[in-house]
């Protein structure tokens, strides 16, 4: 071991600590993930629709009313847990909800929705996860609100809980 080499650990250690110090001093919430897409137009995509025979084309669907977009999959346990809130948005709040089915098997999805109930008006299939990449999805479930001009106004990463449900509920009244 050369003498210079012996100083490498302290240098590496200090640089890692600097990163941590910086992270501590800036205002951040690790579960709140800023979206580059906020206040931008919905990314364009077209794909098969699970419950309708026609192709789902994003341009046609967005931009008419406030829409909740929910990325979900049957293999995702938190999706199952948040499902009752998503259903509440559909039944109690009369919101249009588009459920993007992420890397899933259409037959399983159909069964899943038979079991749990279907709150979605359209279910575009994202078999390869490409749509999710365009939307900057971090991990499913994720929920977005798109306003009536087709602009993304809100994003939540992770399952919708009681608290988030109320938060979204308040927001929806403000979004047009």
């Amino acid at each position: 071991m050369k003498i210079q080499l012996a100083k490498v650990p302290v240098v590496i250690f200090l640089s890692i600590l600097l990163v941590f110090f910086y992270l501590l001093t800036i205002d951040r919430n690790p579960s709140k993930i800023p979206s580059n897409l906020l206040n931008k137009n919905v990314p364009y995509f077209e794909t098969k629709n699970l419950i309708k025979d026609e192709i789902f084309i994003s341009k046609k669907e967005f931009g008419k009313e406030v829409i909740l977009v929910n990325f979900f999959a049957t293999w995702c346990e938190p999706c199952r847990n948040e499902h009752r809130y998503i259903k509440n948005f559909a039944t109690k709040k009369k919101l249009k909800i588009i459920g993007i089915n992420y890397k899933d098997n259409p037959n399983k999805t159909k069964k899943w929705l038979e079991e749990l109930g279907n709150p979605y008006s359209d279910i575009p299939l994202d078999k390869k996860g490409e749509i999710a990449i365009d939307w900057g999805v971090y991990g499913i479930p994720e929920t977005f609100i798109v306003n009536s001009k087709g602009i993304i106004k809100y994003r939540h990463v992770g399952p919708v809980t009681e608290k988030i449900y109320k938060e979204i509920d308040l927001l929806i009244n403000k979004i047009e």
């Binding site: 650990p9 200090l14 941590f20």
Partner: protein, 628 residues
Amino acid sequence: MLPSLGNCALWLSLFFAILQFIISNKNYNLKYTSISVFGLLITSLLSFFVLIYSHIISDFSVLNVYQNSHTTKPILYKISGVWGNHEGSMLLWIIVLTFFNYFIFKLLNKKNLIFVLKTLKIQAFISIGFILFTILTSNPFERISPIQENGLGFNPILQDPALAIHPPFLYIGYVGLSAVFSLSVATLSLNNNEKIVWYNYMKPFVATAWSFLTLGIALGSIWAYYELGWGGWWFWDPVENASFMPWLLATALLHSLIIVEKRKSLQAWVLLLAILSFLLSVLGTFLVRSGILTSVHTFALDPSRGMYILTFTALLGVYSLTLFGIKSKNFLDKNYFTLFSKEGSILVNNILMTVACAVVFLGTTYPLIIEVLTKNKISVGEPYYNSTVIPIAIPAILIMGIGPILSWSEDKKIKFFKKILPSIFLTIAMTVFIFLIYESYSIIGIAGIILSFWIISNNFFVLIKKNNKNPISMIIAHMGIGLLIFGITGSTVWQKEKINRMKINENTKIENYNIFFEKISEVKESNYVAIRGNFLVYDNDQNIIALLEPENRYYPVTKNFTTEASIHTNLFRDLYIVLGEGNLDEGWIVRIYHNPLVIWIWIGALIIFIGGIISINNNIKKLKILNK
């Protein structure tokens, strides 16, 4: 009244720690050192017991009790609730710290005076840091006024027997590494004329820390498996990584100490490993408690706490690593050895362990580093760890199998091949046997089974050999690793999962079992209400094997739902049932897992621990003789 006594004892322990720091010097009378060591031990114990007592009698004038307890909680969880929260766990940390401080003090004699006093000084500094942290940012004796009628309750997923003892074991591991750190720094700061057999002092502490860390991690894993109801036992969560990284380094450390002892080689490297493994323990604690990363272990998020721990870690790290940078040249040696020898195999494994640790570290901190540099958030998950850690683990395990057989200094290759021939045959025979039973073939499965039998059979032949020179502790611990790998392979490669909606009186099949949903009932306990499903498990001949009763619990105090998996275990497989949501008309969502060989993971971990305990004992004996 009593909580004030606890608080007072905590302040007194700070006083004794400062006293110890100042007078751990050969110019002072040793009597004062002993007063400070005992004072520190007694006062910190006192404050810890006061907190336990406050929890037992549910003294809701104490904020910590109010926030984490409730009168309806069973006594076991009233006690384990003491360290199930941030403030109380810091007190546990301090207790362990002062015990190790005491053990170091016990080593003190005329011959090693300078060395042990230096160690005690550093240990005192670490104690001051953590006691001050507790008093300033996380005082468990903070009061609440007016006195509350009842507490907020304790997070129900933490109400589990394995989790009750998981933190104490883990902390003995983490904090045991503090003693290793202090010994290493003391060694580095010795003058050339004061050299001492520091590695013999370090070994029992490393063995202790490593054994308890191993079992502590396993207990956490058991908890995740039984309580979280996800069917798995390891999720590469940042907190799991935070305990896995020091474990990897401690493993490397434990083994390279043998080389230092035998060959006086690698001294500088071992001193560095000792420093890094404790720094990683503290850094892990920081990552988890500062709220920088989110995980199941995230306690109350508080940046001021994070800032404190980080500053303290910076102090420890900069001091020790700079000292290493300056003084390590005194520990360089020219005692080379060949690669094809026992020490060679240990060295290669050392490198592999360290690389694995670096890889896990990179995975854990990469998202943070990327965030700072590019403002983007990314996540690193299981696929990364599986594709990086496994390829490193495979050669490490292969080498681990032959390590015990290789001789010190140098081995003749042909002679060596003859020695391993029986284990090669045994490995092949056992592997074929296993695959005839499970009839499932995948490359990872084959590799895992071969590796585990490779270790087991090699150690078996070493064990039955006449005039075996390998310590029994090593053989036991290595066998444990073999069994652990056996369990890991079986449960990951052959796991079967079935999720369906079942109504009462319906059947479903998994593997060779028929599962009948008999009934559902309501259960009421003091701290929760639950619905419980009764599932009868039949084998192919229609014999009843087991009654499984998974529950869906609701804890009214904390308003939490938890799922309690119900598991039937035998040596070959676990049947694991989780009850999801549902109702009488539509049926319930039922998740059933068939997890082969899971129990061998826990058995393996326990055997490793037993091996570790024997090794602690041997090393303490050796040190006692040396110290005479």
